[in-house]
Symmetry: C2
């Protein structure tokens, strides 16, 4: 499995990119300090998703930023992405691992302590605790966990963790202080007027908070 | 590659199944004489699609009816389906073949003589000439080819052919007489009050027309 850094994990959403091409927003974000990129395209055709993934992969490779594909194992395999992110309604983990092999990253969304307990029985490479706060980005998620809910999951999980859902400059430090290894964001970067600058500020917040915690 | 029989090819559409469970319609259709089943689920979650595919596969296996998955190579791989059907906006053929291997069926939709010429350069296992007639089933297809357009494609293709789009008991014999190996249908079975009976009638029409042609 490739090394990966969960500090600042960008999850894409074409509809939140203020009509800018997704690729240009991702590029700016990576220049700003995003450490992982997850392409989440629920409305693209398979071919569009694949074409986008190939382009993004070529761009971010020199930055050593892994490309993770949301849900679509076919796209992940076709573009030889570094990994896949699975939700609770996606393909079962065991099958994804079998098809992808041990050399790829597999992440899993967990929305409760129960999900996290189940994930402890799987060799996933990280979990995404979701959603921390209420967010307009996703309409199909459970109710917000809050910082307390995130801490409950962090207490019992054996996996590396990123948290997602309504995370911004205002609360990023709290998430890291709570014990998450990183933050995942959608609109805080996708909808920023200056994605590179927003990425830089968020990454600095994460890095400084970790340094403070030692 | 498994043997397959294109005579009567059912393509599913949950929204046309008159609120009946897809699985029950498919089962009736297979009992009636459907020779191939393609699951096309554009709105299901990956997990729902996978779960449905596993159930359908288990049911149709004893009938020796191959299960083909529309577009979603991930679902095809996960459920070890007999093959995949690709549209012009799906994953590129070469990549699908590489990931699936030689032992699986790959079909490709062609909507023009130009598509068919390009398909002649690929080792697809069959092509689906689409759409023959105007149909309410798909809203993203090109304009109807008509019987003349189907014949133009049949003349130049080197592949086995099925035709799809607005095919019913009224015109099935014309399609076979034109030289197609089989017919693919959606609403003629999915929306039938009696899918088993409709499948039986359509299969008889195809078989009798082929016998008449010698």
């Amino acid at each position: 499995m490739p090394n990966f850094n969960l500090s600042l994990y960008l999850v894409t959403d074409q509809s939140l990119s203020l009509d800018r091409p997704l690729k240009s927003v991702i590029e700016a974000a990576v220049r700003g300090g995003v450490s992982m990129v997850q392409l989440r395209e629920k409305n693209a055709s398979t071919r569009e998703f694949y074409d986008l993934a190939m382009k993004v992969k070529a761009y971010i490779k020199p930055y050593n930023v892994p490309l993770i594909i949301n849900d679509r194992l076919d796209v992940a395999l076709a573009c030889n992405a570094e990994g896949i992110h699975l939700g609770q309604n996606d393909i079962p983990y065991d099958i994804a691992r079998k098809l992808l092999g041990k050399d790829k990253i597999i992440g899993l969304s967990v929305e409760s302590v129960m999900d996290a307990e189940r994930a402890n029985n799987l060799d996933v490479d990280y979990i995404a605790i979701s959603p921390v706060f209420d967010t307009p980005t996703k309409t199909d998620t459970s109710k917000a966990l809050g910082l307390g809910g995130v801490k409950d999951i962090l207490k019992i999980t054996r996996h590396r963790c990123v948290a997602i859902g309504g995370i911004s400059k205002e609360n990023a430090a709290d998430i890291i202080s709570a014990g998450a290894e990183g933050i995942a964001v959608v609109s805080a970067i996708m909808s920023s007027e200056n994605p590179q600058d927003s990425a830089r500020q968020l990454r600095n917040l994460v890095d400084h908070t970790k340094n403070r915690l030692g």
